[in-house]
């Protein structure tokens, strides 16, 4: 945006600035330091701390630089006697009530107040009266409070209302009695709540899990990447004696800005758990035995060759690094094995050949902010992709309208949000109604099963509204989320959504879920495609087919079947029944001991150099922050050695960098969005529209093995015990009451759950709440079920 430039002088230095900018921003751009507490470049101006006083020529008194717009020819002095005098006086006032507990304060050594007091404070206090004391607040498992240290800058309050979209903290009381808190004692619920720790300029709000664990100057700061969602958030891991003690954002304006989600910040707790795998384990006639790498890889090499390639299934996690994923598929393909997949939460693979090179946003992350309308389908974006949701929240603050087709009211904390709640078996109908609004002649190319459905549809009010909204919005987007991925008719839904997006010129985004889902597609961790998206002439089986069919041996990579698979019980059964299972894993669980034959301990994202491709196709590489525990090793190294044991050629890599270079040769460093969904010709429309369906989502803190072990995250209100929710009318028809126990039968499996009423749920569907710690014993996340009343006598 070309803005009018003006000229001014700061400390007699000539600087140019855009008209309307605040003095403090301009000074910051020119590295002229002005002390501040309440000002934060990503928050609104509050001008309440008065620390940023500067002298402005012709102004009778010093002015706050954060709230003084620059003007042509202005002469500003940031260090003149008048400025310093004002700054020092403010400092003295702020310190009146601030405790002198820096030696026991986690913020000590990195505290804005401490630093500024060094520069502007006096060494002796003139104040000898009693200091004010404020009771600490209980804000839940993530944020600790020492409220006596608070200087009332209100950054945390503004963060809530302006960034998180939910104002949970406030300033109650007045004058000396003003306190920051929630008034009614409660945990913070924002999924971005940890950022208040960073914005707080003093030690009032700190990270509870790392409280009193280390002093800031003892820790090493290591740049890293968060692998838990498709943002690729940049982080710093703070390391003390080979332990990650805490995680903070690494600023990147194109991605996470100055923020990270709580999941990115506190997942590190899952790195240091007692169930870490530290030694290769091999099952023998005598039971489990620790083994050497040599011996265990020999067992693996020998055993795997006893199966024909069609009998082996390889399944890997989408949050593994590109180097791991690539070498894994390369190695097993060298053995002729083609049953390779990472899509463990997907239910419908019919249209896989028509999928783009990799699922992506269809635009850059930054440009999300420019959308005027967003249509989300089967997506709880706030919990799935908290930082992407933050960008859309910014758009919504500028007037972007968000419409969501889901089964339940998800509150995204956007300014304008309409929820169209339909039972999952009705989503196809709902999308058809919207597509029906497109003039007929544009629908010629629809696969014929869909054409029929669309022809018979008559658009409802919602359908028309969504169509109009997208047609008139200009810049707009259609996004398909994780719940759509697990839908049994996903292919048909994707095809209709793609037609709608094409017709309304909307950006079409298939949201990749994990930190490297995009990478897994790119590097050929798929049955039907090789690295670089090249069709595999000898396509293998997808996850569902592998589990249902002929596989007698499995290679599980960084996965836990009972938590990571769409159909947990059948995945677990398949493992139990297999003749041979080898797991590459950072953790050994009891369940693994029950089905595995070889356990190979691998490094986590923090313990190796790795590359991840995010939702906009950006490749990012981060170094390791710590060493893996015990004998655990980065998996790319293990695979390379395994290749030697198998006598395979082409595995001479000496560093992960060499692996990366090989990948780049095969894929090109693809960052564009050539991946619009091709109009799919193959869809799956079978579904029983009559019965009752269940819907579930993977809980925010259950997405991968590391997060599931992050204890503090598991204490937040987001971890709920399993239950089933339905609307009152359905409950009445079924003759069940709130808090009753009801039996759900799905696919021959049954489970008794407590009932909760949710008026926003449509008829004929129930919400099954999943938990991070309990296996979903029923099966797929979206599937027909039968609900039975338990008769008590």
């Amino acid at each position: 945006m070309p803005e009018e430039q003006i000229q001014l002088f700061i400390n007699d230095r000539e600087v140019h600035a855009s008209k309307g900018a605040m003095l403090i921003e301009v000074a910051d751009q020119h590295d002229i330091r002005i002390p501040r507490f309440c000002y934060h470049k990503k928050l609104s101006v509050a001008a309440n701390c008065r620390m940023c006083m500067v002298e402005v020529e012709k102004a009778p008194k010093a002015l706050p630089a954060c709230a003084t717009p620059v003007a042509e020819g202005m002469r500003v002095y940031t260090h003149s006697p008048a400025a310093l005098d004002a700054q020092k006086s403010t400092m003295e006032f702020l310190l009146i009530n601030h405790p002198l507990d820096c030696p026991v304060c986690d913020q000590g050594g990195e505290c804005e107040l401490q630093d500024t007091a060094m520069g502007y404070g006096e060494d002796v206090s003139r104040y000898t009266e009693r200091k004010r004391v404020v009771a600490d607040k209980e804000l839940g498992p993530l944020v600790s409070t020492d409220m006596t240290r608070c200087i009332h800058c209100t950054r945390c309050v503004r963060f809530g209302s302006e960034v998180a979209g939910i104002r949970e903290l406030g300033a109650t009381g007045r004058g000396e009695f003003m306190e920051i808190g929630t008034y009614v004692q409660r945990s913070l619920t924002s999924e971005l709540s940890g950022n208040v720790i960073d914005v707080c300029p003093v030690g009032a709000l700190n990270a509870k899990p790392s409280r009193m664990r280390a002093r800031s100057w003892e820790m090493l700061q290591c740049a890293g990447l968060s692998p838990h969602d498709a943002m690729g958030s940049n982080i710093y891991m703070h390391v003390l004696r080979n332990t990650v003690v805490r995680v903070v954002p690494r600023e990147n304006d194109e991605l996470n800005e100055t923020w990270i989600a709580d999941r990115d910040r506190f997942s590190y707790e899952g790195l240091h758990t007692p169930d870490r795998a530290t030694q290769p384990l091999v099952r023998t006639a005598r039971g489990w035995e620790s083994s050497s790498w040599q011996a265990s890889l020999d067992v693996l090499a020998r055993k795997i060759k006893q199966f024909s390639p069609e009998e082996v299934g390889v399944m890997a996690a989408a949050h593994s690094s590109l180097e791991e994923q690539y070498l894994l598929q390369k190695l097993f393909r060298c053995l002729g094995i083609q049953n390779i997949d990472h899509r463990v939460r997907q239910a419908d693979f019919t249209d896989q050949e028509y999928m783009p090179l990799f699922p992506n946003l269809g635009q850059s992350i930054e440009s999300l902010e420019h959308n005027n309308a967003v249509f989300l389908i089967g997506c709880d974006i706030r919990l799935e992709q908290p930082m992407l949701a933050h960008r859309i929240r910014k758009a919504s603050a500028r007037g972007c309208q968000v419409v969501a087709l889901n089964s339940r009211d998800f509150d995204f904390l956007f300014a304008a949000q309409v929820n169209w709640n339909q039972a999952p078996q009705a989503w196809l109908q709902a999308l058809s109604e919207i597509v029906k609004c497109i003039p007929d002649n544009e629908l010629r190319d629809l696969p014929h099963e869909l054409k029929e459905i669309v022809e018979q549809a008559s658009p409802s009010m919602y359908a028309r509204h969504i169509f109009e909204l997208l047609s008139q919005a200009g810049t707009c987007s259609v996004f398909l989320g994780a719940m759509l991925d697990s839908h049994p008719q996903a292919s048909a839904l994707r095809a209709l959504a793609a037609v709608l997006a094409r017709h309304t010129h909307a950006n079409f985004g298939l949201l990749p879920q994990a930190g490297n889902t995009a990478g897994a597609w790119l590097c050929g961790l798929l049955p039907h495609r090789l690295a670089g998206g090249v069709p595999n002439p000898d396509a293998g089986l997808d996850t569902t087919a592998m589990l249902a069919g002929p596989c007698k041996a499995f290679v599980l990579f960084n996965l836990e079947p009972e938590f990571d698979f769409a159909n947990a019980p059948s995945a677990l059964e398949a493992m139990q029944e297999a003749d041979f299972v080898v797991v590459f894993t950072p953790y050994v669980s009891e369940s693994m001991r029950s089905y595995a034959d070889v356990v190979l301990p691998i490094a986590t994202f923090a313990e190796m150099r790795g590359t991840y491709v995010n939702a906009e196709g950006r490749w990012q590489t981060a170094d390791k922050a710590i060493n893996p525990p015990g004998q655990a090793r980065p998996a790319w190294r293990i695979l390379r050695v395994l290749a030697d044991h198998l006598g395979l050629e082409g595995f001479t890599h000496e560093s992960s960098q060499q692996v990366l270079e090989e990948i780049k040769v095969q894929t090109g460093e693809t960052t564009g969005f050539e991946g619009r969904l091709h109009e799919s010709k193959m869809v799956q429309t079978q579904a029983d529209p009559e019965g009752i369906y269940r819907v579930s989502a993977t809980p925010m803190y259950a997405v991968d093995n590391v997060v599931r072990r992050a204890n503090s995250l598991q204490q937040t209100p987001y971890e709920r015990s399993p239950r089933v929710a339905m609307c009152e009318q359905l409950a009445r028809e079924l003759g069940v009451l709130e808090e009753d126990e009801v039996r759900i039968v799905q696919d021959g499996r049954a489970k008794v759950l407590k009932l909760e009423l949710d008026p926003a749920l449509p008829m004929n569907c129930v919400w099954v709440q999943k938990s991070s710690r309990q296996v979903d014993e029923l099966g797929n996340a979206i599937a027909p079920v039968e609900i039975q009343r338990l008769d008590h006598d």
Binding site: R167, G170, Y183, V184
Partner: protein
């Protein structure tokens, strides 16, 4: 949430007051009615119950904490249960010069409670330190519930107390 979801805790009186205030402000500035709403709540219950403040927040489309902020900012709002009749003696300059301290002392003695306390029978509440209530010409003065009582003397105070049931 739409008004239909409003928790049923608000009386018609409070809703009526809120609607009245709402009608005086632009539709997108509903929070302007919050003071009126809180006043009505306090009038009805004698203090501000959290659940009712939450209901007001829903009605006015505000985050609950924003309502608590307003409620705790103004000293005229009570956040805890207090005695039925509120006695607020002005102790600011004019009233002080005209003997407010004597009035306070008398009240404390007579009721057996200190400033900021309520009588055990729940009848009287002696409000803490009231600042100038803009009735200096009638100093010393106190506010009894919604009414101003001016030119106070010990006898007048006694009479006022007797008149309250």
């Amino acid at each position: 949430m739409t008004p239909a979801d409003l928790p049923g805790t608000l009386s018609n009186y409070v809703r009526g007051e809120m609607d009245d205030w709402l009608s005086r402000y632009p539709v997108d500035q509903k929070q302007s009615a919050v003071l009126g709403a809180l006043r009505a709540l306090q009038h009805e219950d004698g203090y501000l119950k959290t659940e009712k403040m939450d209901a007001v927040a829903t009605y006015l489309d505000m985050p609950p904490i924003a309502v608590y902020e307003v409620a705790s900012f103004y000293s005229m709002f009570e956040l805890e249960p207090v005695g039925k009749h509120t006695l607020a003696v002005c102790t600011n300059l004019s009233c002080m010069l005209c003997g407010a301290d004597k009035i306070v002392e008398h009240l404390e003695h007579k009721l057996g409670i200190g400033l900021g306390e309520s009588t055990p029978d729940g009848k009287f509440f002696l409000k803490k330190e009231e600042e100038c209530l803009a009735a200096c010409c009638g100093a010393p003065m106190m506010q009894v519930n919604h009414d101003y009582e001016e030119n106070l003397t010990i006898e007048k105070v006694d009479r006022i107390l007797e008149g309250l049931d």
